[in-house]
Symmetry: C2
Subunit: 293 residues, 2 copies
């Protein structure tokens, strides 16, 4: 049987009791380690589980899934995923392949950023579609997130923005030469995300797309770091203010929520507690959000 | 400190290791038991935790929150919530009150139906806002869910529909007389939900609201039962077909996903596996969904 086990968001003790039992009795244990990370190392997990954990990078999951699934018709194989197994990234490919091989599948859910973001006090009912923000390069600035945010904002909804992580990436030069040297891991910060959002908004406005724009430097948002962890951190403010809060937020992982105008007063009460500047928060709240439907 | 502890979706072993440690050492343990339920009784939890669990019904949480928070400035109080503490229902009131009383707060996230619904194979990125469906009465058929679904469908997104549960409810007669006798618990089924959805669609069309309608008996959907449990069950088909699948789905809790047209082919591949009638699924998929953006 293939057991897809969610690890939750923070450390080794965020696994469920059911998940831990499964890991302990599995024949092999893989850790999917390229779409998100825990705040602890693999070695901590291995010590905690009392057994070896095999790191499954993108290459392995996408090209060598049959190795992961080997003998899973009769053996228990645990495939560990940070967050929920079907959270921000789905592993439907692996599961479809398991089905083809007549391997039974079991899912052990866990917290995902998509639901844990509720700890900001923003109601999950008021969220539209989730978007991803990738690291821009000089020549590559994918802007489809902007369309998705426009759709959400048109109907007044919040947008959760998930931020890029780069682990085990090769430089273009090393890639071209086939040299397996990997760059240092990079995790996008709330500040970088806000800057990229404002950059694209500016480009779109210059292109004359929509007179009113989708958001601005004065749009209200919440930056979060290490949600679910002991030192989780929330900072709220305008997109412009949030460009400058990386030091306050501290280490990875970061995420961002852009507020929709359909925000309930209780939500604002809750979130203003974390405001960089409560006075400015109140002013913009009253002007652009309060009572809007 | 007030510890908000998520219990996950299914049984006593879905709590996280961190959550279990917190419950074991807390001075008092409350279980919020009116917005969702586990598939096991309170007595099972008490045995598993080795301690008393105080049932917190709506009345207690809304009117007697100070009793729950008593001495939490110095004692550890655990407030257990099925799913994630900030999942389908938020407990921001309780937390805001705790803040007023200078009580530190900690959240221990867990799986929520809002993210675990990804185990259908439908991508969480493609979900719009979540809606709730309440039990209709002869005179009360709230239809705001229909507006929300229209908004989601306009931009091509899936809609997760969370279904009403009635626990510890009094009949109107007993309520009027102040008699504290409670009705048997009721859990809405996928069949009831689909019937109510089609009823409202029919009323709206008769009122001439939008020539094309929002959905129809031929719209594709997935009914789910006991997500995350050992006997979780998925059935996919048209809304009309799903009116008749309650026996196949079995006991509570049920939820529903109405597909958006922006469905990816991999999602359909995954979900058609559960189809009541694969041939009809393919026909409607090709006609109304495939390649639509």
């Amino acid at each position: 049987m293939l057991h897809l086990v969610g690890l939750g968001l923070s450390d080794e003790t965020d696994i469920t009791v059911k998940g831990l039992e499964t890991v302990k009795k599995a024949a092999r244990v893989y850790l999917e380690a390229y779409t998100s990370i825990l705040l602890v190392d693999k070695s901590v997990l291995e010590k905690y589980y009392g057994r070896e954990v095999i790191l499954a990078d993108r290459e392995m999951v996408e090209s060598s899934s049959d190795e992961i699934l080997r003998d899973a018709q009769t053996l228990d194989i645990a495939f560990l995923v940070v967050g929920d197994p079907f959270g921000a990234t789905t592993h439907t490919d692996l599961v479809l392949r398991a089905r083809e091989l007549s391997i039974p599948i079991r899912t052990i859910p866990n917290a995902s950023i998509v639901s844990a973001i509720g700890s900001t006090g923003l109601q999950l009912y008021n969220f539209g579609q989730t978007v991803s923000m990738v690291f821009f390069t000089d020549s590559w600035k994918p802007a489809s997130f902007h369309d998705r945010i426009r759709e959400n904002r048109t109907i007044g909804l919040h947008t959760l923005v998930l931020l890029d992580i780069k682990v085990k990436e090769q430089s273009l030069e090393n890639l071209a030469r086939g040299i397996r040297i990997y760059e240092e891991a990079r995790y996008m910060t709330v500040g970088q995300c806000c800057q990229q959002m404002l950059e694209i908004e500016e480009i779109k406005r210059a292109e004359g797309e929509g007179m009113e724009g989708v958001y601005s430097g004065e749009s209200l948002a919440v930056g979060v770091a290490r949600v679910g962890g002991k030192d989780e951190k929330f900072v709220s403010g305008t997109l412009e203010q949030l460009c400058e809060v990386d030091e306050v937020l501290g280490g990875p992982l970061h995420s961002l929520v852009l507020l929709g105008r359909r925000t309930h007063e209780l939500e604002s009460d809750y979130v203003r507690e974390f405001a960089v500047d409560k006075e400015l928060w109140d002013t913009i709240w009253k002007r652009d959000y309060e009572g809007k439907q």
